[in-house]
Each structure stands twice: as structure tokens, then as C-alpha cells.
């Protein structure tokens, strides 16, 4: 069944006429995603890989019944694009763009919360339900379909885990990248909640990193009881404090946001935390295979 997206999801791409937009639109079509429209103001009437382009999200929704959007516009254009998508009633907005100003992200999050729209990102690889649909930029041949749910702050660590699991014959129900920014739409908790209710998902992997309290919030939620086994890896145990490590959200300030504090809270909440990625992959692969052989 997967979460958030499946083979029927009607997707529009904001920024489809840009080089990244058109490149990834093509890749999404290749893996069977139902990209029904693109939106670039001023380019309405064109087509990209056969996909009709509109001037407005309003037109794309009216003409093609678009329900979800992927945003691939430059950083300073993201707020307007997201506002347009949210205010036109889309239920899901995936913001791939990195380097979105934080105050803009604050406004996007507030708007989404007020309209019951799920925003994924910014600064994310997106979402993939393998062989069903992809709203994102991950190389889909590294993602095999299966029963493990994956939710991650790091896009490339998602590729790592997905591809390593695939090499062991294990696949994913859905992978959701919540992104590397400190102010984001959906958080771990929001995705965990969805995985809890998804019949296809047997186990969940969380990939976190230093900085912020997303993992801590997840631990609080999981402590109440969670119906499936959860595994976690937190990157950055060797990162020096006070230095921002790439992601805007990855910085340890004082005692907040350390790997140690995150791991402890998650373990106390019943999560199996592995200190090494290869161990995580081995353990999950073992679990899935043992379930399958029963």
C-alpha cells in the first residue's frame, strides 16, 4: 500500500521548464510516476517530455486534477511557489530546493499547518514508493520495493541504506526524505504515524543526524507505544561541536542535539539504535528475511 503516494497520485512539477525540473520530470515518467502537469509562470502552453505546462497551479489543478506538487525552483522563489500550491488546495507539497531562507521556511510551515497540507522538505530528495511512484530525485534503480519504511534527514544516506538493503534482497514500502534543514514541513513523527497505519510496512528505519530535536520528538512519540520495530542510525557522532556540518540543521550547540542524547532517548523509547550503518543494514535485513521465511 505504501504511504503518501502510489501509482494513482497525480503530480505536478513547479519549475518544470528549468534544467533540473525537466531532467527529473523525465526520470519520474520513466519510473511510472503520474506527472500530469508542470507549472512555470509565463510558459503556459508548452510541453516538457509531453507533459503540459501551465502558468498557474490553479489551471493545473482544474485541467489535470493535480493533487501533489514537486517544487524545483530557485531558493528565493520557493516561498511563493509553496504558497501557491498550498493555497490551491494540494494535499502534498515536496520541496526539493536547498538553501531556502529560514524565515521563508517558517512561513511555509505555518501556511501548511493552517491548511492541512503536508509539506516535505525543503532540502530533500523527496518521496519514493518503489515501482509505484516517485516525487523526488533519487535514482529509483537503487530502491527496491518491499516492506521496510525509511524516513531520513539525509538524502544520500537514504540512497546508502536503500541500495545496501537492495543488495541483500530487502526492499522499501516508502522512503520519505524529511530534509536537512532546521525548519521543515513534516517531521519524523508525522511520517512514523503514517507508517504505523500502513499494512505494507513491517519495520521502520530512521536516519537522523546531529542538531535540532527531531529525533527527541520522535522518541517522545514512540514511547507511547509503536506497533512495529524501529531501527535508527544517527550521523555525526564524530563531528566537532559548534561547527555546522553541511546541513543548515546539523550543528551541536551546547548539550542540545548531540548524538549521545538522541541515541539515549530513542533507546529508552524502544528503538534499536545501531552505531554503524552497515550494522543497521545487516540487522534489518536479518529481521525481514526471518519474517519472510516463517
Amino acid at each position: 500500500m505504501a504511504i503518501l503516494i502510489d501509482s494513482g497520485t497525480r503530480i505536478l512539477i513547479q519549475g518544470i521548464t528549468g534544467s533540473q525540473g525537466s531532467y527529473h520530470a523525465g526520470l519520474m515518467l520513466e519510473c511510472g510516476s503520474r506527472v500530469v502537469a508542470g507549472v512555470t509562470p509565463g510558459r503556459g502552453g508548452e510541453t516538457v517530455h509531453g507533459i503540459p505546462v501551465y502558468d498557474t497551479v490553479r489551471d493545473a489543478v482544474r485541467e489535470q486534477g493535480a493533487e501533489a506538487s514537486m517544487i524545483l525552483v530557485p531558493p528565493f522563489a520557493v516561498l511563493d511557489a509553496a504558497a501557491e500550491a498550498i493555497e490551491n488546495g494540494l494535499r502534498l507539497v515536496v520541496i526539493i530546493t536547498e538553501h531556502v531562507p529560514i524565515h521563508d521556511a517558517v512561513k511555509i510551515k505555518q501556511l501548511a499547518d493552517s491548511r492541512n497540507c503536508m509539506v516535505i522538505g525543503p532540502n530533500t530528495i523527496g518521496i519514493i514508493s518503489p515501482r509505484l511512484s516517485k516525487i523526488g530525485i533519487m535514482p529509483e534503480f537503487l530502491y527496491k520495493p518491499g516492506s521496510v519504511g525509511l524516513v531520513s534527514r539525509s538524502g544520500t544516506l537514504s540512497h546508502e541504506v536503500a541500495s545496501n538493503l537492495m543488495d541483500k534482497g530487502v526492499g522499501l514500502s516508502t522512503c520519505v526524505g524529511i530534509g536537512g534543514d532546521p525548519v521543515r514541513g513534516a517531521d519524523f513523527v508525522d511520517v512514523l504515524r503514517l507508517f504505523a497505519g500502513d499494512p505494507q510496512t513491517e519495520a521502520v528505519i530512521m536516519i537522523g543526524e546531529i542538531g535540532g530535536i527531531a529525533e527527541e520528538k520522535a522518541a517522545e512519540y514512540l514511547k507511547e507505544g509503536y506497533p512495529k520495530p524501529v531501527y535508527a542510525f544517527i550521523a555525526g557522532r564524530t563531528a566537532p561541536p559548534g561547527r555546522r556540518m553541511g546541513h543548515a540543521g546539523a550543528i551541536v550547540e551546547g548539550s542540545q542535539g548531540t548524538v549521545e542524547s538522541k541515541e539515549k532517548l530513542l533507546r529508552d523509547a524502544g528503538v534499536r539504535v545501531l552505531p554503524r550503518l552497515d550494522e543497521l543494514v545487516d540487522v534489518v535485513a536479518q529481521l525481514v528475511k526471518s519474517k519472510n521465511s516463517v
Binding site: I125, T156, H159, T238, A250
Partner: protein, 387 residues
């Protein structure tokens, strides 16, 4: 981006937040001139980002221009907690009756700003937070703060009469600055009430969002001043994210994506290697920029090996491979190189890399790539060089 005190005060001035008279000086001579303009008595303050400068003797009271020159000469050129002091702020001395604390900062747990206020300013904020009722905290619903809310907050902090309304005005102005300059933190510690009953921001701390700098002309000028060290500057020019780690480290790390870079760094340390740096190429790296990134890492003295860990998602494996082989062809680096790459155009990349004497991990883990690199360095050490 952290502004220096003198830069933050320039911004304060634009927003009608009262600051002491003062000018930044780059030398003893300039400090003497500025002290003279202030009438002789002044405070000489090192312009550094790290806190605790007062206790380190980097803030000095002087009584005349000669003393100002002396103090400035002693302070400028010192290194304080890794920072080279290149400027001092020469400021009028304030007669302090009371000290308050005001700030607005991002509360990452809510994704919204939080205002902090206290009638006991001038001390370490963490100390303040520990005292019962030491600090008033109010979360904001958005990026604004109305005057009446500012009055409520400061009334809760114990302020009254003209000081209450004066401080409330300052608070609304720092929130406006926070919003318009797209700051992540604006802090005044202390906000001084002088013996004459005037409120003045004796210190100023502003942190701006790096991602928003380009759309603020003021921020952009200020950013030019903050050059950073050589490697940091070159990394910015290439457009990659770079953190220098252990000076004595021997393993260079280049990864596509911050999470993967951190995990690679962790894997190196876990297997007994010493990472010398963390370099995140980000997405969409070109052949030239890949080459420049590799050259930057190889420029670290003592680098014995580099692990390159890049997925072809938003990046392209072949482009990455070409950047790497360009460097090997032209520079013949002595360091061992292991490349782990997989994704778009992987077959072409692997074919190209197969022609070179470097380790390649195709369908394996980061841990394997690191292990391969550490083994080949060890072999090198044993056999005394490349065979």
C-alpha cells in the same frame, strides 16, 4: 553568519536602537584618534565572535588616547580561541545604573522565534536561565511582536515606568530587525540603563541566516568583511561545504550530501583513521568543481588518502569520475584514493575509473570503502611507497 559587535551596532543604529558612541579601529594609532574624539576616557573592546572576552582581558577601560593606543596595540593581533583579533571597538564609557537582558532567537523545536527578557542582564545567559524566575520566555506565533506584547513581557520581567516602555520599544525594534534582516538571533546583553536614565545597548549580537544574505544589500557588505581562513574561502569559491577537522589527520573526506559526509567521517574514526576534513559537494557538482574540491582536500599537508563517496542522484557519477581523473592525470597525487560511486551513469563512471590505480567500490557500503582506503595506506606504509 555571525556579525561582529561593531557591525551589529551599525544595524542597531539603522533600527533606532540606541548604541554607545564608538568607532572600530584597526590599529593603535586609530584607537588613539577615536579615543581623543570621545574626550579621552573610553572602552577598548576586541572584536571577536567567541564569548568571554571580558574575562580574557580583551575589554579594557582607558583614561586617555595614549592608554587607548597601548591597549589597542596589545589586543590587536592576539589570537583568542582560534580567532585572530584584527579590530577593536573604541567606545564611550557608560555609567551603569542597571543592566537588562533582551533577545529574540529561533526556537528550533517550534520553528518560530522566542523572545527572552530579564531584569538581570550582564551575566552569562545560561547562568541566568538556571535562576528561578531569572528569565521571561515568550514564544511568538509569527515573525512579529506588537508593542503591547513587548510591554507584557517586560512587565513580567519586573520593569516599570519609563524604563518599562523604553525597553519595550527597544524590544519591538530588535524583533523588527530580526524579521527584516532575516536574523536567527538578535541579542542585547546588557541593555544598560545609565545613571542619566537613558537605555543603551552596551553589547550587540546578531546572527544572520546565510541563505538570505544575497537579498539584503546591507548583509552582503557585512559578509565581505568576514573572510574566514584560506581553506574556508577557497571552499566558498568552489561552492562546497567545508569543515577543517584535525590538523594532524590523514584521511580526506569528500561526500555528496552532508549526512553521507558525516557518516563517512564517523566510519573513518570508528576504524581508527583520523579525518582531516569534511567536504560536502552538495548537489549538481560539475567536472571542474569536482576537480577543484579534490585538489582542495589534497592541499592539506599530511593527507595520505582520500575517500570519495558520491551517489549519482542529483549528481552524476560520470561527471564525478571525470573530475577525479582530471586531477590524477594532471597532478599525480601521492595520496591513495578510493571512490565509491553509484547511481546515474554509474557504468560509464566505473569503466573510466577502472583505467586508474585507485580503489573503487561499486555495490558496497561506506564502511567497506573506508576499510579499503585504510588498508591501502597501511600497505603503502609497510612497503614504503607505491609499487
Amino acid at each position: 553568519m555571525n556579525l561582529f559587535e561593531f557591525q551589529a551596532k551599525q544595524l542597531f543604529k539603522q533600527y533606532g536602537i540606541p548604541i554607545p558612541c564608538g568607532v572600530a579601529a584597526l590599529s593603535g594609532r586609530e584607537a588613539a584618534d577615536e579615543a581623543g574624539k570621545l574626550g579621552g576616557a573610553a572602552v577598548i573592546k576586541a572584536q571577536v565572535h567567541a564569548g568571554g572576552r571580558g574575562k580574557a582581558g580583551l575589554v579594557r577601560l582607558v583614561g586617555n588616547p595614549a592608554e587607548a593606543e597601548q591597549a589597542a596595540r596589545e589586543i590587536i593581533g592576539q589570537t583568542y580561541r582560534g580567532e585572530l583579533v584584527s579590530r577593536v571597538l573604541v567606545e564611550e564609557k557608560l555609567s551603569v545604573a542597571q543592566e537588562f537582558y533582551l533577545s529574540v532567537t529561533m526556537d528550533w523545536s517550534k520553528g518560530l522565534p522566542v523572545v527572552l527578557a530579564s531584569s538581570q542582564g550582564g551575566v552569562d545567559i545560561e547562568e541566568l536561565a538556571k535562576k528561578e524566575k531569572g528569565i521571561v520566555m515568550r514564544s511568538l506565533d509569527n515573525l512579529e511582536l506588537s508593542y503591547y506584547k513587548a510591554v507584557e513581557i517586560l512587565s513580567d520581567a519586573g520593569l516599570k515606568n519609563k524604563v518599562l516602555t523604553g525597553a519595550a520599544r527597544v524590544l519591538t525594534r530588535i524583533v523588527r530587525l530580526f524579521r527584516e534582516a532575516e536574523a536567527l538571533t538578535v541579542e542585547i546583553n546588557p541593555l544598560v540603563l545609565t545613571a542619566d536614565g537613558v537605555l543603551i545597548a552596551a553589547d550587540a549580537k546578531v546572527t544572520l541566516d546565510d541563505e538570505a544574505l544575497e537579498r539584503h544589500p546591507v548583509g552582503w557588505e557585512l559578509a565581505q568583511e568576514d573572510a574566514g581562513d584560506d581553506f574556508a574561502r577557497r571552499a566558498r569559491e568552489i561552492g562546497v561545504s567545508y569543515v577543517q577537522l584535525d590538523e594532524g589527520g590523514e584521511i580526506g573526506i569528500i561526500a555528496g550530501g552532508a549526512g553521507l559526509a558525516m557518516a563517512t567521517m564517523d566510519a573513518v574514526a570508528q576504524q581508527g583513521g583520523r579525518p582531516v576534513n569534511f567536504l560536502d559537494t552538495g548537489g549538481g557538482i560539475s567536472r571542474d568543481r569536482m576537480a577543484a574540491a579534490l585538489r582542495l582536500v589534497l592541499a592539506n599537508n599530511g593527507v595520505k588518502g582520500v575517500v570519495i563517496n558520491i551517489f549519482g542522484g542529483i549528481n552524476n557519477c560520470l561527471t564525478v569520475a571525470q573530475g577525479i581523473t582530471d586531477v590524477v592525470d594532471s597532478d599525480h597525487p601521492a595520496a591513495e584514493i578510493v571512490v565509491k560511486t553509484r547511481g546515474h551513469s554509474q557504468e560509464e563512471a566505473w569503466s573510466l575509473l577502472a583505467k586508474y590505480d585507485m580503489g573503487v567500490v561499486k555495490c558496497g557500503t561506506t564502511v567497506e570503502a573506508v576499510r579499503m582506503l585504510l588498508r591501502s595506506i597501511q600497505k603503502n606504509n609497510c612497503c614504503g611507497g607505491r609499487t
